[in-house]
Symmetry: C2
Subunit: 397 residues, 2 copies
Amino acid sequence: MNTAFAQRMSGVSGSAIRELFRLMGDPQIISFGGGNPNKATFPVQAVEEIIRDVMQQNGADLLQYGATEGYMPLRQSVLEHMVCPKGVKADVENIIITTGSMQALAMLTKTMIDPGDAILVESPTFLGALQCFHSYQANCIPVEMDDDGVIIADLEAKIQQYHPKMFYCIPTFQNPTGKTLSPERRKQVAQLAAKYNIIVAEDDPYCELRYEGEAVPPIKSFDETGNVVMLCSFSKILSPGLRVGAAIGQEEIIRKITMLKQSGDTHTSNLSQAIADQFLRRGMLKPHLERICPLYKEQMDTMLGAIKEHFPAGCTFTKPQGGLFVWGNLPAMNCSMLDFAKRCAQEAKVAFVPGQHFYADPNTMGLTTLRLNFSACTPEQIQVGVERLAQLVKQVI
Amino acid sequence: MNTAFAQRMSGVSGSAIRELFRLMGDPQIISFGGGNPNKATFPVQAVEEIIRDVMQQNGADLLQYGATEGYMPLRQSVLEHMVCPKGVKADVENIIITTGSMQALAMLTKTMIDPGDAILVESPTFLGALQCFHSYQANCIPVEMDDDGVIIADLEAKIQQYHPKMFYCIPTFQNPTGKTLSPERRKQVAQLAAKYNIIVAEDDPYCELRYEGEAVPPIKSFDETGNVVMLCSFSKILSPGLRVGAAIGQEEIIRKITMLKQSGDTHTSNLSQAIADQFLRRGMLKPHLERICPLYKEQMDTMLGAIKEHFPAGCTFTKPQGGLFVWGNLPAMNCSMLDFAKRCAQEAKVAFVPGQHFYADPNTMGLTTLRLNFSACTPEQIQVGVERLAQLVKQVI
């Protein structure tokens, strides 16, 4: 068998992070390399109770085929609990439930993007999004960021230069940087989308994981023209393993996504949808967040404190107010970041992800950057791990 | 907002069947229009027990992110219970779990098909597959069938003429015709795939729903070159609402599909996978089939008997040995099949799906055909419904 694969496959490769994970298989390693929520935060008992109830009340229907648009009660409860309270105007015609927000992004991309189309991305951005865009043969164009997120002047310049179909944005506690787009810029992003008629894919899975500061309204709340598609996820507020997300947008876009999902996976697991629905309807989200955010805050504060204490001058790190990640930039190094990451794993038993993989061109960009995740480790491990990492950094800069 | 959609969207439209379903919303209607398994067959209590156990034993891990390739125990149990006993040689590297077999087909298509590539399809075939292929801008070429499935001479002629990348085949109790590809032809399909180096997508969701006759080995069991990709589904043997399927094929293809799934939906619901796994490991599949097949057999036999009793000469119907569908062809009619279907729904309160929608070109092919599903109705309803339908048919032929 040597039938040629489709041309799009030439741009698709396995996640570099996943490969690195294998290197990091050593159970003694203190890992800042992952991106998963801490499994100790999952409301296992609440989910068990919900499942018992929904199966008793509705078991056979949940096991039957469901609507491609999603389980109607969940479409309503996502709007009521996660979307409309943030100032977004949306009705059930504006929402489709997806198999995680990753699928929402993949289906939106398939709906909008022809090979060669430009997509603007924050620089750096989520690796999975880059892989998705490459699989649709998009031309990913980086937009510069500062501490307040994407720089509006650069965004507009890139729009004028590249005529993109879409701008992909993680506005709150961004993966990988932990940065949050300021409210003023969110409004400007919505205005630019309207002015130049491009789609904004607003991917906001971390927004509820805020440990400090005031909540910021989504870009979608400033959208008066239907150019913004908001992607919601249950992965960081309930469970990633259930694979439940949603896309909220203009009715015509949601209809197109629905058609693609029909021959994509038909619909999202009914059981997963019913669990997510009851989690919202029973008012469990708010107390759950009140329980888990202090845990994550302690981890984040420990990491930021240890970085301040141990890292040498010239190393800069972001200071997020939430999410799961801190982002660092080192001065000029005497080895590659990938070699350094391997050395850290072997010598210091500390793992992290080299930042270059989060850039549109990983061979030339972000070569001295790194992403640190704090959600998988205890505060004690974070103290030890950051100190070890800082010691090794001193040997390579 | 009037940003243009991707070019591929011009070939994508909502399912004609789904539109017809709305017309058929009348609860008094006897519906032969659906394609769902009967929800009374779902093992609700067994699923409840399994969920209780897997959540107690493994709850937090099931709620965490999982591997893109699928839950390892399920990959193994699908091979052990559903694949290898049928004479297919495969190891865990040859299987990926998907969000229903629809996703397996969609990901295989994305892996293999460039716009304009030819895909051979049985004529008629599954509507969802046609929609999927159109969304990847494939050129769907029909291959003629007789009572033993696809005609090998026509298959080879079409391969020589169109140089397809792929042949899509539902070999057992096909949707929509109920036909089964003979064992001899299965072997020939595998040989042609090897000879001309094309992929065979063997979609076999109905194979366990056999009510008469001997089981037939899958095309994949004759595959010596890795050209056949077998698609498995839990939708008709456990539950469609859980969305669990699998693709079994050559390691390189499975790896490519895994890369696409990573930025497609990341992975399939862990809970759904754990349920399917335990259903197999606890030996529940065989007794479940022994319970449900007699129920479906009674429905099928009732439908075939009523057709024989009531339909006028010149109308021909398939005589399946399993599955969910019977397929009919009427003599020349004095109205369109769509108009007739609407009239049947309104006057006779009987619903069915016009067959033309299952053809690569629904405007010119299968204009006098119809699909009857027997799984949703009681034997009494089937008796009454077929008689009413036959009476109306006499008025239009």
